[in-house]
Structures are given as C-alpha cells and as structure tokens.
Subunit: 372 residues, 2 copies
C-alpha cells in the first residue's frame, strides 16, 4: 500500500535484523531442549569460562581449527574490547578502514589507541595509502571487515586480501578480520578469509547477531592458540564466564538443522531488499557511485560535492527519514589528499529491516533532499 | 553411607551452588514464556542497553530506587570491571577488606589500582586500621561485602556499617557494597544495607548467581542516577547490550512466584549444611575462632600459628581434600602489625555444594592434617 509507506517514518539508522527474521519459536524449542537435556546443570553452573565447549567445538569444526583456538563471549564487541585491552598500550597505533564500524573505532580509542583511518576504495583498502601510513607508523593491528563492510558495503578483492596479509607479515602487525555478515551472501562466491591466507597473523571475529539473533549476544574470536589462551584468561578475569544457556541454544539450533534452514530464510527475505536498494539508488541518484554488495546489511553512498548535504540529518528527519551521522564512521575528521567534508556526505543505508517499498520511498526522499 | 563419603574427594574449593539447587525445569518454562510472549521479539533484537527494562524496573522496586539507578549486566564481576575502569586512574588507591574476594582484588589491580587490604575482624572491618590507612592515602573507593562475606563469612555489625558510611562521607570516597549472599539468610535478621544509610556514597552490586543460577550471568548495580548514567554509557560502549533472553527469564521467574519458592528451597537445603560445618569446626577444631555466619556460602578459619600448615594444599590433596590457596584472598602479603603468614593459615570452607556428611568428613580430614 504505497499510500501508507509514503507517510510513514523510514529508519535508515541501524543495521538490525528484520523483526520477522528473528526465530522465536525455534529458539524457544532449543532453549528448552538445552535446559532439559544432559548438559542442563552444566549450563546453569559456573564453568566453561572460554565459552560453552560444545559451541567452541562446533565453531572450530566450521573454521577447521582446534577448539582451543576459539573464544566465545557475550557478543563480538566485547571480544574486540578484550583483545584491544590485551594488545594495546596507550599511544599505540591501530589502523581501520575509512569509513569503518563506529563502535570498533571508539573501543580502540578507549583502550588508548591512536586510530588511523585508511581510505577504502570500492574493492577494499587503498593500498598506496596503507603503505604510506605504515611508513609513518607501524600499527599494532589493523581492523578490517572484508565482506560486505559496515558501513560501506565493500567486499575486499582477492588481490587486496593477499596484499593485506603480505603487509601484515612483512611489517609484523596483527590483522583483525570482523566477518559477521560474510555468511549472508545473496549472490556470487565467497573469497578466502584472511585467516585462510595467513592464520598466524589473523584474528577472526564474528557472531550470531545477524545469523540468529542480536539479543543472544553470542560472538566468537579465532586466533593462534597462544594468543587465544591469553585472551581467554583475560576474558575470565573480566567476566568470569559468558552467559551459557544462550550458547547452548545456539548449539541446539545447529543440531536440529535450524541454522541452515534459517539462513536460507534470511537470504530469501534480504536478497530482494538488496535488489530494491540497488535499483532505487540507480533510479533516484543516477551517477552516484557506490559499492554494489552481493550480501550483508549495508549499501552506502558518498554524495557528490555539488549535492546539498547542509544540515542533512535534521532536514531528513523533518521528511520522516532517519539517518546516521556519516562522520561517526570516520576515524579521522579528514586525511591529507581527502575531502574534509567526506564524512558529512557519507550516507549509510542499512536495508535488511525495511521492505522494498520502504526502501524505495526512503531513497526517493533522500534524493529529493540532496538534489534540491 | 559413611563408607562412601570417607573415600571420596571433597572439594572445599569454590563457592558454587549445589547442582540439585539449580532450577532447570522452572527456568525452561520461564525462558519459553519469555520467547513466546509479547516481548519475544524485543529480547532477541538490539536494544535495552542498560539491561532488560522490566528487570531494571523489578530490581528498582525491590531497592526502592528509580529504574535509571539500575544497570543490569552479564554478571556482577563485569560490572565491577566497568565501574573500576570508569572510576580509576593508574596509581589510584582502592581499599578492600583483608581477606576479600580474590577476583575483585585482581580486577581493581588490572584497572591500575593500588589495592590496600584493611584487616577484617569477626564483626566487620577494623576501624582503627581503616582510619590509619585513610590518614596515609585516601581511596577512590572501598570495596566491602557486608553480609556473609566472601571468604570470611563475616557480617559487618550495625555500628561498623554506620562508621563506614560516616568515614566515606567525611573523606569523600565511594563505598562499593557487594551483596550477592545477603538474601540467603538462614537465621536472624538483616542489618541495613550501606545504601540505606547513605545512598549518595554507595554503589550496590549484586547478582542472581547464588539465588537462581550462575550460568545465567545476570548481575546488577545500583547507584546515584548520574553515576549509573555514565556507567551505562560505558557498558554500552563495551558490550553494546547484555544478553537479554536470560534477563527476561529472570523477570518471568519472579512473575510466576518461583523466585520466592526457590529461595525457600535454597534456604531449606543450605541451612543444615551451615549447621553441619559450624558443628564440625567446633568438634574437630575446638578453640579455633571463626565468624559463625547466619547465611551465605562461606565459613573460614585462620589456623593458629602452632598448627601445621606447611605445604597444606598439597598434603590436603593427597588426603582427597581440595582447598583454595588462602593467600589469594589477601591483597597485601602482610600488613604492619599483622602476621606475615596469615594468608597461608587462612582456610575458606564453602559449604553449600556439599552434603552434611561430606562437610563433616572434610573438616575431620583438615583437622587431622593441621594438628599432626
């Protein structure tokens, strides 16, 4: 009903799953099975400080590593906080893609890092800029989201993946690859994980927030055994143990085959929404370049300088369109050779929690605002 | 069957609930109701970053505060980490009772504090020692467990509670009261919370680990609105949001009246165990003084200097008796006017997860070892 859509508020603010995609019935069944099952007492007691062992084992099989290379915690943001707390001393340098996930940038800063943004091209990090930055100051680690990046929607090319691990090896820094969207691929073929190219230099972080439910807060980290052992000790000192019944429910969700069927349901729901936003951008903002992703949650545009982005957030709100401040995704207000207003012209458009009609209407409103 | 007990290993190592006290069936029912109920989508989505609002509201009613004075997180240890991270700069001083909860001591140290142990008498902190310590260096906060203290089993007297808040007010420091055992009172009457005496100086921390289940990791913190607002922001930056389905299950556990009935079940189970350990100590270690608690999880003894505590942990293990190293509970290896070997002679005896027969046998073994 277009008349409804045209009058309602449209939220392009957060990358959240669609409410209709949250599998309440299945999780309820899994939770019951876990609490009534043979491990029922185990998951209500102290213990399993590195995460519920059957879940660590399940994840280790998926990634072809050993369970002691897996740490499961209460969401991947907290695992990022823990490894940042472990690896960083005040004043240390961390590289992120520019733009990048705003909460990760804040976490590294809170842990004392100087966070440097390396410009992200439509096929991944700008390697020239990265090498220039390394020449200036070597990072302790570089944080990247190689698949369907948040916020830009960019997938790093195979060549750039190889270049990243080569640079990490040559200049001795860690790569943190955050891959929560990777499995949500609606078309095309997956490229290798960074850890597939060099497992000794890479820490992989992911979660079930986009694949089952964010409220469960089940995230995990994979890395070399020695590092994971130290991070597990720090996690234990920080939280004792993660919440266990929800982790047991995730295991049960896999055992019953719900993970696979739920993933197919998600793709069926989200793929047309991705098509809708790509089509809407091409129609309403013709000629504005953007990374056209084959999966994930985000498409983003950087509006041309001759578009009207003055006071955009407030004007959008008046038109019933809620946007996130693009500047939040930029570690540096601006870097040399770059447009200082780039963040202001950057618009992230999470599409999964909106219907194709809402997406179309939202992009139309955006287009009217910026071209007026 | 005494013949079985006399040959089995007895674990006086950790303060864990008895396995038979974990309410799997009831929690399974509550979790199902939460996931199938009107907030089912809410608890699987992002949001409620300061904790599931109905739980914050429930706790706020119990403590007669407003919901924005309550922060609910994934276990109280993490909340201690968050307020320590917020309040402390490297080199700041924190006071703890001596002995105190080992993980709290470690957390404050990791956050940069110099942790000073103030001797604990059988009726609470030694006030003379506390005033002397304040005269030397004012703490940012003092961490106390006023009810059925971990590890000593001490309950702070009414007079000493008043003295603590008076000193905090006069010398301008925070009091952190950790009260996870308070509700598990098997005899006698509760004394006021420190926050009842001065709510502006006190942060109250507690959890459902001992009252429902540790694996749920549902802990909370109560303090002045302005402080809780800042801690909530820091919690959000650190973990985004806590795990929500388990918090919703706790709310449902209250709504259905299970909290009250479960608490009565716990008291019925644990009270005879407390009686058993008190009786066993009086019988097997006559004349050794200890705080005789009216609730909680712990009784502890400091063995006289003429007892044989050399290599006690290893000798106990050979006798099938597992003990925790008493030194872990001492922030300072020794303080002036104190016996330097106090930690070595300190034996914590958590009694809730052992049957009266196991308790009797365990104390008998201990007595044989230290009096030989």
């Amino acid at each position: 009903m277009p008349s409804q859509v045209s009058s309602e508020q449209i939220l392009f603010t957060r990358g959240v799953p669609a409410a209709e995609a949250l599998p309440n019935k299945l999780l309820s069944e899994c939770m019951q099975a876990a609490l009534d099952g043979p491990d029922g007492k185990v998951i209500l007691q102290y213990g399993h400080n590195g995460g519920y062992l059957p879940l660590r084992t399940l994840i280790s099989e998926q990634y072809a590593v050993s369970p002691d290379q897996v740490l499961v915690g209460n969401g991947s943001l907290h695992l990022q906080d823990i490894f940042a707390g472990f690896l960083l001393k005040p004043g240390d340098v961390v590289f992120v893609e520019q733009p990048s996930y705003d909460r990760a940038i804040k976490t590294f800063r809170r842990r004392g890092a100087k966070v440097v943004g390396i410009p992200l091209d439509l096929d991944g990090i700008n390697l020239t800029a990265l090498e220039q930055a390394i020449a200036q100051q070597k990072p302790v680690f570089m944080y990247v989201i190689p698949d369907f990046q948040n916020p830009a929607g960019v997938t790093t090319s195979a060549e750039k993946r190889q270049a990243l691990v080569d640079l990490a090896e040559r200049y001795d820094f860690w790569l943190i690859e955050d891959v929560p969207y990777r499995t949500l691929r609606y078309a095309g073929e997956s490229l290798p994980l960074l850890r597939d190219l060099n497992a000794e230099r890479v820490v992989t972080v992911s979660s079930y927030s986009k694949l089952i439910s964010p409220g469960l807060r089940v995230g995990y980290l994979i890395g070399p055994t020695a590092l994971v052992k130290q991070l597990t000790k720090l996690a234990e000192e920080t939280i004792l143990a993660p919440v266990l019944p929800t982790q047991a429910a995730v295991v049960e969700f896999h055992r019953r085959g719900y993970y696979a069927s739920n993933l197919e349901d998600l793709k069926r729901l989200y793929a047309p929404r991705l098509q809708a936003i790509v089509q809407a951008l091409k129609t309403s903002l013709p000629g504005v370049p953007f990374a056209e992703p084959e999966g994930g949650f985000f498409v983003s545009v950087t509006l041309p300088t001759d578009f009207n982005t003055t006071n955009l957030l407030a004007r959008a709100k008046q038109s019933g369109l809620l946007l996130t401040d693009g500047r939040d995704f930029f570690a540096d207000p601006y870097t040399a050779n770059e447009d200082p207003q780039q963040g202001e012209r950057f618009v992230r458009l999470p599409f999964c929690a909106l219907t194709p009609e809402q997406i179309q209407e939202g992009v139309k409103r955006l287009s009217t605002l910026v071209q007026s």
